[in-house]
């Protein structure tokens, strides 16, 4: 009885949580411009999305490209910076360690608006003209802490002597890093990278404040401007549906694989 009630509660929450997403997905299969109008089944919006489309689709595609490019660069730089720093922080002691960890926690606790405003003031103060570079720098600053946080536990689990052993055996520090440390830290780096990539993709407020006036649009700022004008670009519906489907499939694949490798291990 308890089990049935629990399951019912979980599914009730999930249905509520997913209702808007299902709603987007359903209305991605109709041509109506206004969200919520059903004018019969059609895959026209999907076609528009891939061909550049009629309803200002080119601007949308540019926004998607910007979003992906910014997320990719920010996540890659954050992963390298975060991993190297995690190794450094791990080897620090006492007050220095606490200070840098405290600073590292700030971007994660700070609300986006504050991060955005503070970086905006920084760029104004330094007379740094705002655009791609400032957005990427801003994204690196709030993504790197997550990489550090994901790599640190790996360092704790690692045998500290193998790096020294590699050096003793004649490896240069660079070789030791590449051949010894990175393979050991890889899972932490990967989850850090994925988290950084997601944070960057989903960011709105920080981008909004640091993109300057050169007309740089990411998906978030595009949607914001669109909604303010009243009426969303209809092609956003198929886009969101596609993104969601891809992520769902990826997660299912990852989980099935994990379950399988677990099962294999227990058999052995």
């Amino acid at each position: 009885m308890r089990k049935v009630l629990s399951q019912a509660y979980i599914w009730f929450l999930l249905i509520i949580l997913y209702a808007p997403i299902v709603f987007i997905a359903i209305f991605s299969f109709t041509e109506a411009k206004a969200f919520g109008n059903w004018t019969g089944f059609s895959v026209k919006l999907y076609e528009n999305l891939f061909t550049g489309g009629v309803n200002g689709g080119a601007a949308l595609i540019l926004a998607i490209k910007n979003t992906l490019l910014i997320a990719l660069i920010s996540a890659a730089v954050s992963t390298i910076l975060g991993t190297v720093s995690a190794i450094g922080i791990f080897n620090l002691k006492g007050k220095k360690k606490r200070t840098i960890q405290f600073l590292n926690n700030i971007p994660m606790i700070n609300p986006d608006v504050i991060t955005g405003v503070s970086l905006f003031l920084l760029f104004v103060f330094l007379h740094f003209s705002q655009g791609y570079l400032t957005v990427i720098l801003a994204h690196i600053s709030f993504c790197t802490p997550y990489v550090v946080l994901n790599v640190m536990p790996r360092l704790g689990q690692m045998n500290p002597n193998i790096y020294e052993a590699a050096l003793d055996l004649g490896a240069t520090p660079w070789q030791a890093l590449r051949k010894v440390l990175v393979p050991q830290l890889y899972p932490g780096m990967l989850s850090g990278f994925i988290l950084a990539f997601t944070m960057s993709l989903d960011d709105f407020a920080v981008t909004f404040f640091t993109r300057g006036t050169i007309g740089l649009e990411t998906l978030s700022t595009y949607i914001y401007a669109d909604a303010r004008k009243g009426g969303l670009t209809p092609e956003l519906r198929p886009l969101m549906t596609l993104i969601f489907t891809i992520i769902l499939v990826l997660l299912i694949i990852i989980n099935v694989r994990q379950e399988r490798s677990k099962a294999n291990k227990t058999i052995r």
Partner: protein
Amino acid sequence: MGKRSNWAIPYLIFLILFVALPLLLIVVYALQDGNGGFTFDNITRFFTDSDALSTFAVSIEVAIENTLICLLLGYPAAYILANKNLNKSAVTAILFILPMWINALMRTLATAELFNVMGFTLGKGTLLMGMAYDYLPFMIYPIYNVLLKMDHSYEEAAADLGATPVQVFRKVTLPLSMPGISSGILMVFMPTVSTFAISEFLTNNKIKLFGTIIQENINSSMWNYGAALSLIMLVIIGLTTLVLGGEDSEVEGGTV
């Protein structure tokens, strides 16, 4: 070792330049007039600006209500998800974080549209529902993590010593899950106070929250007043973090 601790130096410089200095600049700009002279006017202006004050009050109210709703809905969910007898699959837990991969603005707009179609008038009610929908995963996840790692022998011991299930929950499970609850509160309360755009979408511009006021001032080049409002926001954040114990409330880096 010795040498490898130097690897943190570039990041330390980066953090000082892109985290510490910008926060310091908020304080500097907040205490300056348009010509760069020192003044407290921006701060005092907030306390006489009835529009900003009422927005501030509404933001705190909405944030507290949203946090409570998320806690009441999220705790039982986290409890069930972390309990091996009630829930066997880890996939169900993942389903709760999956919607976060959909652009938050898009999700919010879809929620607002769904409310419209269902015939709700956009206002305070839809704001709270929509916000709970946006932030529920942030409450569930930390509590779920803590409950999952919890040593269940304490609960069994309490039950063996004659505690009723309600007593076990109140005296053992709940206190042990406090770190998760406080980081959940932190992760819901602060973004709610400072959110901008989301509240306008969910209420059809009827209710705006503190983040919007900051954004409006910065965007209309009122940098000093915008900075002063941000400073007030920072003070609230500092206080909340202190109350909830900043030490153990560090955000868990989740894996996919």
